[in-house]
């Protein structure tokens, strides 16, 4: 009995000194240092956008127009940063994506709405407009007209109302994470306590894999003719602002923030503790692709059409990252993506 107890105590001591952070610390750090601050920043930026579009429409000028467009860029970028939180948690129930950033928008649908003579207000945008006629995409479309048509009353109605709905919905998502939804527990508590840390990490990794798969296979790959019989540059989700590269960068920086939240108790540290090679490779690829995207100045769609070879390296890095997360990281962390162990029957 004494031997068993001694072994157990020794094991506990050794275990607590073992290499790599614990999964619960990693999840706490991701929640508190990456996901929640990211959502809060997105909500603040959306509120700033709402104010900037209202100011522009109240006092149209070149300056207020430029400020509104700048506010849109910031709101969109912060939203892309926070987008990982929409792959799991309350976003689905709140239908956040359909109100904040549905892609692609329908330019013809928006023009029809503008020409319809309908009074466009928050209530209309929230409950009657189609997903393709609202959200950050619609605001981008209306704001990036010339100043005269952008400040027309009907256009302004849509711009202001869509911005307001984006601000409300982004804040609602943040509130659901920190304060709960319909009397339920705050999702942050569920994520960071009720479910196991391994399940929470599984949600994060699945979100990362989906982001990278979408960027590489469904967007950039199609634009370059790698995942389509012919190049389809329009596969890159990029509107009138031509900010595709900035948005890709924001999504990848969000992945980096998620990986590095907590320093020595971070997801990156956990992965490195299981495989130094995989940890270093992820770091190198993320650094390279973020740097490569940072030097792109014009629209990515134009690049894909005119100088596609310049985007090959970016595609390769993102595709490699996807492979690392989907096969290596999932395996290293024993994460189950979408099913349970094949020897079990827990569905």
């Amino acid at each position: 009995m004494k031997t068993v107890a001694l072994t157990l105590v020794l094991g506990l001591i050794l275990g607590s000194c073992s290499a790599g952070p614990g999964e619960s610390e990693v999840v706490t750090n991701i929640t508190e240092q990456a996901l929640l601050p990211g959502l809060d920043r997105a909500a603040l930026a959306a509120e700033e956008l709402s104010m900037a579009t209202a100011t522009f429409c109240a006092t149209p000028s070149l300056e207020s127009h430029a400020m509104a467009k700048q506010a849109w860029l910031k709101a969109k970028s912060e939203w892309e940063h926070a987008e990982l939180t929409t792959f799991f948690g309350p976003a689905d129930m709140l239908r956040t994506l359909s109100k904040v950033d549905y892609e692609p928008i329908s330019e013809s649908g928006i023009e029809e709405l503008l020409a319809s003579g309908t009074t466009i207000d928050d209530e209309y945008v929230d409950s009657r407009a189609a997903s393709t006629q609202r959200g950050l995409g619609a605001v981008e479309y209306t704001l990036h007209r010339d100043i005269d048509s952008a400040s027309e009353q009907t256009v302004c109605e849509l711009t202001v109302a869509a911005s307001e709905v984006v601000a409300i919905e982004t804040r609602s998502l943040h509130n659901a994470w920190v304060g709960g939804l319909g009397g339920g527990a705050p999702y942050a508590e569920t994520f960071n306590g009720t479910m196991t840390s391994n399940q929470a990490l599984g949600d994060v990794i699945a979100a990362i894999v989906e982001t990278l798969k979408r960027q590489s296979l469904f967007e950039l790959g199609k634009a370059l003719g790698i995942s389509a019989p012919e190049p389809v540059p329009a596969s890159i989700p990029e509107g009138a602002a031509g900010a595709g590269a900035a948005m890709y960068r924001a999504q990848l920086e969000a992945i980096r923030e998620t990986l590095e939240a907590g320093g020595s108790d971070s997801l990156a540290a956990l992965i490195t503790s299981r495989s130094e090679q995989v940890g270093e490779r992820i770091d190198a690829l993320l650094t390279k692709v973020i740097d490569d995207l940072a030097v792109i100045e014009g629209p990515m769609r134009s690049m894909a059409a005119e100088t596609p070879g310049d985007l090959d390296g970016i595609y390769d890095s993102i595709a490699d990252l996807r492979g690392l997360f989907e096969s290596d990281v999932v395996s290293l962390l024993d994460i189950t993506l979408g099913f349970s162990d094949t020897d079990g029957d827990s569905g």
Partner: protein, 434 residues
């Protein structure tokens, strides 16, 4: 030798433990159905998916409409109750075996070792008289009520249970399990939050110790259970082993309960009576004697059950990597595989190639399982070729296997969409990394 063996086989033993086996089996079968209903698996695994991966030769086994699938599981449940109560026992066992086999054959991505075992065992039960006692059939006079039956009945059941342990143990005799302690080295640290023992699970030594202990247990437990001197200690160890497995890997589902109940058959056949303080009434035991035909069938069955799990030794490569000879080989929880699967489509008319994902009508679970299985990868390539039309499809799959860095699993230059319903993997699956 043979006459002595025959005499021993036909000698009488208490039928009580056989009855307990029957009751336990039926209850587990019923629990299986309840879990399918309670978790909504009838819909999510059978009704909702637009496509099911067929087994070559069993393409005719298809999913019923929704009500039909629920009815099908209801039939399995009723058959399980029939087995438990010993009501129309042989019919119940036959219906249970056929209906569960049908379910298993609908979709290859749903293969589970213990469902396979349930089908085999229910089939065996049709031919062994486990309704001899503690059954409604005996009470109703449909069969002669007997407190004893021939020893071969217990032997058959012990073989049925013992083969799982033995072959699961034999499958552990490989360098990944014994030298690299994989996949436990990958799996255990993810359970570090378990109360008290969690920190221990992060230690590399724990995975090594548990790997060796697991192999030793599986390879020898049948011996310990069979030897009367160690039986009393071996069974609690077995329950502890399965309890630990369940605590560490709750998603393993019914397997620990199933095997803990089934292994009771290794105890003295009269153990239920000893436990209840009742005595066995000596009665007639004419039925169930071994005929030459029955003996032949039993030997053929036993030989088949030995050959099937060992057939992969005749094939090149690691069965856990290639999947060749995997089904029915009791490779229980020996692989950790995660893969990234894309498909490369080529239009032969233009020679233009492009890359696509697995069809989005495959469920997330199907996609994940498919990506690690050569046969399902081939079938998916065929689906893509059908969807696009007049194209050839190759698979580009990278696989991380038992803690190794991911490596190329399939040859992306080999077209696999032409012959989809085949187990052939030669030239298509690349060698396992060292």
């Amino acid at each position: 030798m043979i006459p002595r063996l025959r005499a021993a086989a036909t000698g009488e033993v208490s039928a009580a433990s056989g009855a307990v086996f029957r009751i336990g089996f039926g209850l587990v079968g019923l629990l299986l159905v309840i879990r399918f209903f309670a978790h909504g698996w009838v819909d999510s695994l059978f009704v909702d998916p637009r496509y099911h991966f067929p087994y070559p030769g069993f393409e005719w086994v298809t999913v019923w409409p929704r009500n039909g699938m629920y009815l099908h599981f209801l039939v399995i449940g009723v058959a399980a109750i029939g087995i438990t109560l010993g009501y129309r026992y042989r019919l119940s066992a036959a219906v249970f075996a056929l209906a569960l086999a049908y379910v298993e054959l609908i979709d290859r991505s749903l293969y589970l070792n213990h469902y396979y075992w349930l089908v085999l065992t229910a089939t065996v039960m049709v031919f062994v008289p486990l309704q001899a006692s503690y059954s409604l059939d005996a009470r109703r006079g449909k069969v002669a009520s007997r407190a004893r039956f021939p020893a071969w009945v217990v032997w058959v059941l012990r073989f049925q249970v013992g083969m799982v342990y033995f072959f699961a143990g034999l499958a552990k005799v490989n360098s990944d399990w014994l030298l690299r302690a994989e996949p436990l080295s990958t799996w255990l640290p993810a359970r570090s939050e378990l109360w008290l023992v969690g920190p221990l699970l992060t230690l590399p030594a724990t995975a090594v110790a548990m790997s060796w202990a697991g192999a030793f247990f599986d390879l020898t437990v049948v011996g310990w259970l069979s030897w009367h001197r160690t039986r009393a200690e071996a069974y609690p160890v077995l329950v502890l082993f399965h309890g630990l497995t369940w605590a560490l890997f709750p998603s393993i589902g019914l397997f620990p309960l199933l095997m803990s109940l089934a292994a009771l058959v290794f105890l003295d056949p009269a153990w239920p009576e000893s436990l209840l303080g009742t005595t066995t009434k000596i009665g007639p035991s004419h039925a169930g004697q071994l005929s030459p035909f029955g003996l032949t069938v039993a030997f053929v069955y036993a030989a088949t059950m030995i050959v099937i799990p060992m057939r992969h030794y005749a094939q090149p490569g690691d069965v856990k990597w290639t999947g060749e000879g995997y089904l029915g080989s009791w490779q229980v929880m020996l692989s950790e595989k995660s893969a990234t699967a894309d498909f490369i489509v080529t239009d032969p008319a233009t020679d233009v190639s492009w890359r696509v994902a697995a069809p989005d009508y495959l469920t997330e679970r199907q996609q994940v399982v498919m990506a690690t299985d050569p046969v399902m990868i081939r079938q998916t390539a065929g689906l893509i070729a059908d969807d696009i039309g007049d194209v050839e499809v190759a698979a580009d799959v990278r696989l991380s296997f038992n803690g190794r860095a991911s490596s190329q699993f399939t040859d992306p230059l080999v077209v696999v969409s032409r012959a989809r319903l085949t187990e052939e993997i030669e030239g298509f699956i690349l060698p396992r990394p060292g």
